[in-house]
């Protein structure tokens, strides 16, 4: 086994910066519902709270490893190098959007940046990611697929079928189960057998005789360590692993579902809105991964306060620019709608 190199100071700072960029981006998406009502249509889901898991996992990437998440997908391409201008413009349904306005928030795709695409149908993309691992294996690219999906998605047949197949075929893939404690409006304790029994969700790995671990998904270094071990295993031909990263979604599931022209905005988090559990939500806010990682890096002397502030204001400027770019971008011309039906 290769000797594990510690993360460099620059890499740690890079990780912090990526987390801040994701958060700032999502904040700007959310603010759009207030500042520019009607600009974002349909259903939009934010990744605030997931930053440590996204960045911790993707920081292990090598050989242009592909990343394939669910429909809650804004954060990943930001880390992979996609321009936030293009992502924002897509969410606004504009011509300069990542997918030309054809896909929207739930269906980002940027193959050039190793982000082959997403599905809005729960669990199905787990199979797609498994297929990407087949490509890597057949073509012998050395890549490992990072497959992200929610706790809710593990109730789909596609999850069980894919993990078994991947184990049988020893596919190079890491399954990252984002346990954010909710599937839409439903708390996990109402729908997950492992959770109800007091077991971790990573226990599901045992059904496929593959490694399964649970990590604190609010700590990017813990996620990094677990994903790195799993990715090395996958890259060396030993097959898939399942990693449960536990964190808390900080915004509501998505903007409220309304029938036009009724305006839509983000309601309060379900913990409060549906269950009246204010304390639960307050505790989750306290475990917000970003201030905690910031403080840890400052404590270790990796990050100076001035640098942290610079990173934060750069992210603000970058995402302000993305918003302005997206607002200025025209809508696609209607007749283009028939363009991409067939290759």
């Amino acid at each position: 086994m290769r000797k594990k190199k510690a993360l460099t100071k620059d890499r740690l700072i890079w990780m912090y910066a990526q987390m801040v960029r994701i958060r700032e981006f999502e904040e700007r998406v959310k603010r759009t519902f207030v500042e520019h009502p009607g600009v974002i249509r349909g259903h939009t889901h934010l990744g605030d709270g997931a930053e440590a898991t996204i960045v911790g996992a993707l920081a292990t990437r090598a050989m242009n490893d592909p990343a394939m998440p669910s429909y809650r997908c804004h954060g990943y391409p930001l880390v992979l190098g996609t321009s936030p201008r293009k992502i924002m413009a897509e969410i606004y349904g504009r011509k300069d959007g990542l997918c030309g306005g054809f896909g929207g928030s739930m269906h980002l795709a940027d193959p050039e940046h190793h982000f082959p695409g997403t599905s809005g149908i729960i669990g199905q993309a787990i199979a797609h990611a498994t297929g990407a691992a087949l490509t890597a294996q057949v073509k012998d690219t050395g890549q490992v697929v990072h497959c992200f999906f929610g706790d809710g998605s593990t109730k789909q047949g596609a999850f069980y079928e894919s993990l078994n197949l991947a184990a049988v075929w020893r596919l190079p893939i890491v399954y990252i189960l984002e346990n954010n404690h909710y599937q839409a409006y439903t708390h996990i304790s109402l729908e997950d057998a492992n959770c109800i029994a007091g077991d971790p969700l990573s226990q599901k790995a045992q059904a496929f005789s593959m490694p399964g671990v649970t990590v604190d998904g609010t700590d990017p270094l813990k996620v990094y360590a677990a994903v790195r071990t799993a990715a090395e295993r996958a890259r060396s031909g030993k097959g898939p692993s399942l990693i449960e990263a536990k964190f808390y979604r900080l915004s509501a599931h998505g903007n409220a579902i309304t029938v036009p022209p009724v305006p839509t905005q983000f309601p309060e988090h379900e913990a409060v809105e549906v269950y009246g559990r204010k304390a639960e939500y307050a505790a989750a806010k306290k475990k917000d991964p970003i201030p905690r990682f910031r403080a840890a890096l400052i404590r270790k002397g990796v990050l100076r306060i001035a640098d942290a502030k610079r990173i934060e204001s750069e992210a603000q400027a970058e995402m302000e620019d993305a918003v302005q770019f997206a607002l200025a971008s025209p809508h696609p011309t209607p007749a283009e709608a028939v363009k991409y039906v067939y290759a």
Binding site: G42, G93, F102, H107, H187
Partner: protein, 326 residues
């Protein structure tokens, strides 16, 4: 006695009444009855009202199993496409079991879902997939277009001894209408004439009924008197009412939010071509979605979907050709 009610509310009213009537009716689905405060849960208890995990294959398959052993499940599926995850249960299990058992078992269940959400939900959440189910013997399909129909068809769906796909249109959820407060059951296979007219027949379902009625108003200003018919159920399909109307008007425009070859309109057109062609004074015209997935961006979405203007112009072209043959 009737009461003003929203379309969405009317569905709930029917479900409540039917659950009161028949203790064998159970309701489950994702993201419902999450807390003790849930009104259905309070009325009917934990045994009969349940939250389900995101597992359509199990949700729908469990309903089939429960139905053949004595329950009448209603499965709340939220969006019609989520049923596609369990295509086998929908197409190859629920409608087949009675037949294969030589008539020994019945499968009384309701798969309830919204559809056609033309509000920026993009390619996987806005589709009209009823055509896929229309040709499956054993399956029934209801698509209400008004609050009253929403109630009456849901009551009928629950009482039916066959698997029923009950599809409510998302864009109609908040639309109000007078709804009978007493027991109200609309028999399946009975079309409703939503507007009487003498010059041309428009057939539409769901949200397209609303669009067609709006188009008919515009047309009436221009001296064209359109009849608007809503079949209300696609299986069984009331072809007779449509043929009778075509005999009166001589022209037929079929409006459907689905893509052309996956539309109910294509099937109705075939039926009329065989059984009503003598009455037609002009070729049938279809107003459907363009052959694309539903795009996200608003102008693209508007472009591919049928709308009032497209209906008006289709009707005018049919009427002008009718006139030419007179």
């Amino acid at each position: 006695m009737a009461r003003e009610m929203m379309y969405g509310e009317a569905i709930g009213a029917a479900m409540t009444e039917e659950m009161q009537r028949d203790s064998g009716v159970v309701l489950y689905g994702q993201n419902l009855a999450m807390t003790e405060r849930d009104p259905m849960l309070r009325k009917f208890g934990k045994k009969r009202v349940r939250i389900a995990p995101i597992s359509e294959t199990a949700e729908m398959g469990v309903a089939v199993g429960a139905a053949i052993t004595g329950l009448r499940p209603i499965v709340e599926l939220w969006m019609s496409e989520f049923m596609l995850v369990a295509f086998d249960q929908l197409i190859n299990e629920a409608p087949r079991l009675r037949y294969m058992s030589g008539g020994q078992v019945k499968v009384p269940l309701v798969f309830k879902a919204g559809y056609g959400f033309a509000a920026g939900w993009a390619g996987q959440h806005s589709n009209c997939i009823y055509h896929t189910m229309m040709g499956i013997p054993g399956l029934k399909i209801a698509l209400p277009s008004t609050a009253a129909d929403a109630k009456g068809l849901m009551a009928a769906a629950i009482r039916d001894d066959n698997p029923v796909v009950y599809l409510h249109h998302y864009m109609l959820t908040l639309d109000k209408g007078a709804v009978p407060e007493d027991e109200y059951v609309i028999p399946f296979g009975v079309a409703d004439v939503k507007r009487e007219g003498s010059d041309v027949t428009i057939v539409a379902t769901g949200w397209m009924v609303k669009k067609s009625l709006a188009a008919a108003e515009v047309l009436s200003q221009q001296g064209i008197n359109a009849e608007v018919i809503d079949p209300r159920t696609l299986a069984p399909l009331d072809i007779k009412t449509i043929i009778n109307s075509v005999h009166k008007t001589g022209g037929l425009v079929l409006v459907d939010q689905a893509t052309r070859h996956a539309s109910a309109a294509a099937i109705i057109a075939a039926e009329i071509a065989e059984h009503g062609s003598k009455a037609l004074k002009a070729p049938i015209k279809l107003v459907t979605a363009l052959d694309t997935s539903i795009p996200f961006s608003e102008p693209l979405e508007n472009y591919v979907l049928p709308n009032e203007e497209k209906i008006v112009s289709a009707v005018k072209s049919v009427v002008s050709r009718q006139a030419a043959t007179v």
